[in-house]
Each structure stands twice: as structure tokens, then as C-alpha cells.
């Protein structure tokens, strides 16, 4: 009964001054909305990156030239005279005695921003020069036609398997393209297959690419010195053998490049590393942005305190009267605390809805621009925001409420 009375009184006061109440909670609304939006978009980004990393293929290791410490910006073990990776390195990794955990090896030449044209349209794309086992390692399937064979790689065939996005850009369709001709870097290629769309990923669209035989790429598109390659993809026999495979490859490479442990001129990444690195970066970023958003919650809290102080001053006579008719200090304290708590919680609820809406819009914008990002509004984030806004209301409400409760009734009644 008492609770009902206090709540009714609070509603009367706040509804009686809608504009002011609205402006007061605006700070909390924005703060909570920002926190919710940041956390859910961050969570969504994490999910999307993790899934796009696993869509690259299964049990993969990526070997590239250059030391890991330099690659990671460590800077202490500077390695000079980096030898490029070669076809012979790739061949050596296939040794079943030295590398029993290795299932398959695919050396790769990669060239970005290479012009591709057909049908009167020109675009830039990423060209991969690969061996035929690349497709199965990357889980790339064709929606039309076929991938090229070892035979075609051996004869330096001028054939290409193109990604769905590139097909759409050049031809406006993804079907009925086999046998069409296109030009890559000015060279004519025959399309023999179209890759199935994998959908956009936050690592960039894997659908805007053209895959050609490694031999042809070296001859005509991506020129490299000697027999070098850019990356070597290694597939481990199963998920448990990924780290064994990594060790075996390291040993082979150290021998071949004559380098000591800790002075490697190559680096090996595996998917799990990549996934955990990416998600920890996103995590840190999310916490950072969420922290900035939390500052606006703080500012919102100060806004509530400000308005409550004004309200206490304005209602000094009311407080005096309430005390004259029997309100104890505690009754006045509770009345004002409930008001600020109610304001902040209302702001919190509106903020959660607004933040949710913002997250949805971000998700829509992301998918419209080709990146699959589904923001995940977690129950934890909602609870956190609710608790936080209630705490803000209590914390910033205590001072004004205490000031109101300690007013002397005589002086409060005389206040003009």
C-alpha cells in the first residue's frame, strides 16, 4: 500500500512535467543505447569473424615468408635475408616420413587488384594461382562447370574458375558462363567453372576472385622471381594433428632455409590462432567502445542529479508541508530516491530498446553492403545495462534526496 502510494506520487510528479522528465532521461537513454549497440554489434562481429575463419577450410595451416615476430610487430628478433617460399619447400612438406600429419599441400600465388574484363565490363579482382587440390582444401565448390585438373596445371592451360561476385559484375549472371572468354591482366582465359557463393565475410568478399592454374599465373599474370610462391596452404590430417603438423613443417623449413630456432624467416599460422587473435582484437575493441559508451551513462547520471537538485529546490515548500503533516526524513528520502531510480530505469528500458534498434539497423546496413554481421543482443548485456542504469539512478539520486530529507520543516515552509 505504501509502495503503491509512493509510486503513484512519483508518476504524478514525472508525468506532470513530461518534457523535463524526457530530457532528464535522455542522457541515460543514449548511454544505455550506446552500450547495448556496442556490445551486440561487437558480439555479432566476433561471431561473424569466427565463422568466416572456419569457412576458409578445415584444419588449415598457412605458411608465409617473413618471421613471426616481425609479422606480429614484436621487433626483437629481426631476421635478415628472408628467403622466399618456393615450390621445392611445398614439395618437401609432402614428405610422409618427415611430415606424417600433413594431408595435403597447396602452394599459392596471389595477386590483388588485377584487372579482369569480359563482355565489355572491366573490374579489379584478386587472382589466385593454385594447384588443383586448392579447391578441396578451401572447401570451394563449383555451381557450374568444373575446377581445373592437375593435367591443365601441368600444361599451363589458360583456364579460369571465377567467383560468383566477379561473374555478376562482368556478366550480370552466374549461370551459363562455361566456355565464355575473359581477359585477366590483358591475357585471354576461358571460363571453365563458377564457384559457389560463400557469402560475404568480414575478412572481405571471397566471392570476388578468379582462380587460375599456378603455372599459368606465374607465366602470365603474377610474376615472381625464380620458383617462389606467396603462401603455402597445408592441411593437417585431422583437427588434433594441426599442432603436430605445424611442428613438422617448422622442422622441415628450418632445415631447408638453414635457420636456427627463434630465427625463422617464415611463419606458420593456423586457423585457431587466427580465430582467437581476431576475436580477442574484437573483444578488446568492444570493451573499449563499450567503455566510451559507459561514460555517456555517467554523464546521464549527472544530468539526473542536476535535475533532482533543481526539483528539490523547487519543491522546498512541498517538502516542508509533507514534513508538517507527518513525513519523516526517511519518507522524503525514499520519495526522491524512487523518483530518480524510476527516471534512470525508464531511461534504461528505452535505451535498451533503442540500442536493440540501432544494432538491428547496423546489421541491415552491414548485410546490404555485403558483410554478414548479425548483431547478437545478449541477455547479459541487457541485465548489465539495467543494473548499471539503476545504480546510476541510486548513486546520483542519493545526494539530492538526502538534501531534501534534511530540510528543516520551518525553513522549508517559509521558502519563497
Amino acid at each position: 500500500m505504501k509502495i503503491k502510494r509512493v509510486l503513484l506520487g512519483t508518476l504524478t510528479v514525472l508525468m506532470g512535467n513530461k518534457l523535463r522528465s524526457g530530457l532528464t532521461i535522455l542522457g541515460i537513454v543514449i548511454g544505455v543505447a550506446a552500450v547495448i549497440a556496442m556490445l551486440s554489434v561487437g558480439q555479432g562481429a566476433q561471431n561473424s569473424i569466427t565463422s568466416s575463419i572456419s569457412s576458409i577450410g578445415t584444419n588449415l595451416l598457412f605458411v608465409s615468408a617473413g618471421s613471426e615476430s616481425r609479422f606480429r610487430g614484436g621487433g626483437f628478433a629481426v631476421v635478415r635475408n628472408i628467403k622466399p617460399l618456393t615450390m621445392a619447400d611445398a614439395q618437401a612438406m609432402m614428405d610422409p616420413f618427415q611430415a606424417p600429419s600433413v594431408e595435403a599441400v597447396a602452394p599459392i600465388l596471389q595477386g590483388g587488384n588485377i584487372s579482369a574484363s569480359a563482355n565489355g565490363q572491366t573490374s579489379t579482382t584478386t587472382i589466385y594461382g593454385v594447384t588443383s587440390n586448392y579447391f578441396s582444401m578451401r572447401s570451394e565448390l563449383v555451381s557450374e562447370g568444373a575446377i581445373f585438373s592437375d593435367q591443365q596445371v601441368n600444361i599451363h592451360a589458360r583456364v579460369v574458375v571465377i567467383g560468383a561476385d566477379l561473374a555478376t559484375t562482368l556478366f550480370g549472371r552466374t549461370t551459363n558462363l562455361t566456355g565464355q572468354e575473359m581477359r585477366i591482366n590483358g591475357q585471354t582465359f576461358t571460363i571453365i567453372g563458377v564457384l559457389q557463393s560463400k557469402g560475404g565475410t568480414s575478412l572481405g568478399s571471397s566471392d570476388n576472385q578468379a582462380v587460375i592454374p599456378l603455372t599459368t599465373a606465374r607465366d602470365r599474370v603474377i610474376r615472381r622471381t625464380g620458383n617462389s610462391v606467396d603462401t603455402i596452404y597445408v592441411q593437417a590430417t585431422n583437427a588434433d594433428s594441426v599442432s603436430q603438423a605445424s611442428t613438422q613443417i617448422s622442422n622441415i623449413m628450418r632445415l631447408r632455409h638453414h635457420v636456427a630456432v627463434g630465427k625463422e624467416d617464415f611463419s606458420i599460422f593456423n586457423q585457431q590462432d587466427l580465430a582467437s587473435t581476431a576475436s580477442s582484437i574484437i573483444g578488446v575493441l568492444t570493451i573499449f567502445l563499450g567503455g566510451i559508451a559507459a561514460i555517456s551513462l555517467l554523464v546521464g547520471g549527472i544530468g539526473i542529479m542536476n535535475i533532482m537538485l533543481v526539483s528539490v529546490t523547487e519543491r522546498t515548500r512541498e517538502i516542508g508541508l509533507r514534513k508538517a503533516v507527518g513525513a519523516r526524513n526517511r519518507d522524503i528520502l525514499i520519495q526522491f530516491l524512487v523518483e530518480s531510480l524510476f527516471l534512470s530505469l525508464l531511461g534504461g528500458v528505452i535505451g535498451i530498446l533503442l540500442g536493440w534498434l540501432i544494432a538491428l539497423i547496423v546489421g541491415q546496413v552491414a548485410s546490404a553492403s555485403g558483410t554478414a554481421l548479425t548483431p547478437a543482443v545478449s541477455l547479459n548485456a541487457i541485465l548489465l545495462a539495467t543494473l548499471f542504469s539503476a545504480a546510476v539512478g541510486l548513486f546520483f539520486g542519493i545526494y539530492p534526496a538526502r538534501r531534501a530529507s534534511l530540510l528543516e520543516p520551518v525553513e522549508a515552509l517559509r521558502y519563497e
Binding site: R317, A324, V325, N329
Partner: protein, 227 residues
């Protein structure tokens, strides 16, 4: 033995204004019987408002004894004083002091909300409004009522907990003389019918003349106690 409802003995009140001490009350002693109607008069600054605050338990005396309706009020805490005000004293102010955003009924219910008894709410508040002749105006807000009606709401609010004493501080100060007289008639009627002790602070000799007794205050002391 007569039923004494207010018994004050050598009440003093000293305010510290910076480095200067102001003696608002210099030793006031008085007795008021149950059911009496008493006017307190005096020029501005005479200490009559201070006296009213202390008799109304809104403030404490610096020294002296005060027994209200059988309870010694001198050493009570803030909360205990609030409870005394709630149960034993009804206030009527010059400027009505109604809550503007809520109806007359809710204004009258206000003291009930702070009382520690089971909620008899609406019934008692409605009865009090009926007693002041406003039964048809219960749902109206103060802004929709005339000055006289607003003061009637304030009187109903003062009555609702059936206090022993009704304290009115210039109750007609913001009203014209005709409406003011109606309010005074109402207060006197309640005083007669319910045997509620009535204490009126006023400048107006015509109002004072209608009470049974006038206490004149000058320079913080009782100057004249006219029966």
C-alpha cells in the same frame, strides 16, 4: 482539574545569525485548555511565528519545557516529532500549501499516508471534505478551485487525522474579508462541534475578537493574556 492540552514553561529560542545571537523567544509560558479557541497576536518580528513553530513541533525550543496533550515534547527526535505532528496537530497556512498536481481528495489523503495505521484512506478523506462543504469538488485540482475553496481543502487536510489542535497561521491572509470570515466561521464551528483546540495567529483584531482569549506577543515575551 481542567484538561490542559498545551503547557509551555519558559520557552526560549535563540538563533545564531553569523556572530550575532538573536533571541526570538525570551521565556514564554502559557497554558491552553482543550477545546479553547485562542488568538496569538503581535507585530512582525515579535516572535509569534517562532512560537507557533515550536508549539506546532516544527521546531525545538533552545530551552524550556513543553508538554503537548500529555506528552513531553522537549527531547524527542525528528521522527518522533513528525509522528506527533501527524497525530496531534493540523496546520492551516496563509498560502494554503496544497499540492498543485493532484486532486483535492489526494491532498486531503496526504497525512493519512504518513500515519502508521491501516489505510482507511478514501473514506476518511472524503468525510473530511464533506465536513468543510466540498463533497462536490473532490476530484478538482487546486487550480480549478477558488481561494476560499482551496483553504477549505487545507482545513480538511488538517482535520483528517482528527488532531487535538488545529493551528492556523494567518488563515485569511490571502482571502478577501467575506471569504475570510467564512473560513473563520468554519474553523470556529469545528472548534465547537469537535472540541478541537484552535490556535490562530493573526494581525486582524476583528478575528482575534471572535476568540475566547487573545495572547499578545511583544519582543519574544507574552505581553498580555486577555481572557
Amino acid at each position: 482539574m481542567e484538561d490542559i492540552v498545551i503547557q509551555a514553561e519558559a520557552l526560549k529560542k535563540v538563533y545564531q545569525m553569523g556572530e550575532v545571537q538573536v533571541q526570538a523567544l525570551r521565556g514564554v509560558s502559557l497554558e491552553i485548555k482543550r477545546g479553547e479557541a485562542v488568538a496569538i497576536m503581535g507585530p512582525s518580528g515579535s516572535g509569534k511565528s517562532t512560537l507557533m513553530s515550536i508549539l506546532g513541533c516544527l521546531d525545538r525550543p533552545s530551552s524550556g519545557e513543553y508538554i503537548l496533550d500529555g506528552e513531553n515534547v522537549a527531547g524527542l527526535t525528528d521522527d518522533q516529532l513528525a509522528s506527533i505532528r501527524n497525530r496531534k496537530i493540523g496546520f492551516v497556512f496563509q498560502s494554503f500549501n496544497l499540492l498543485q498536481r493532484v486532486s483535492a481528495l489526494i491532498n486531503v489523503e496526504l497525512p493519512l499516508g504518513y500515519a502508521n495505521r491501516p489505510d482507511e484512506g478514501k473514506g476518511r478523506a472524503a468525510a473530511a471534505l464533506q465536513a468543510v462543504g466540498l463533497e462536490s469538488r473532490m476530484k478538482h485540482r487546486p487550480a480549478e478551485l477558488s481561494g476560499g475553496e482551496q483553504q477549505r481543502v487545507a482545513v480538511a487536510r488538517a482535520l483528517v487525522n482528527e488532531p487535538a489542535i488545529l493551528m492556523a497561521d494567518e488563515p485569511t491572509g490571502n482571502l478577501d474579508s467575506k471569504v475570510g470570515q467564512e473560513i473563520m466561521d468554519l474553523l470556529f464551528k469545528l472548534n465547537r462541534e469537535r472540541n478541537t483546540t484552535l490556535l490562530i495567529i493573526t494581525h486582524d483584531p476583528r478575528i482575534a475578537s471572535q476568540t475566547q482569549r487573545t495572547i499578545r506577543i511583544q519582543d519574544g515575551m507574552v505581553e498580555e493574556n486577555v481572557q
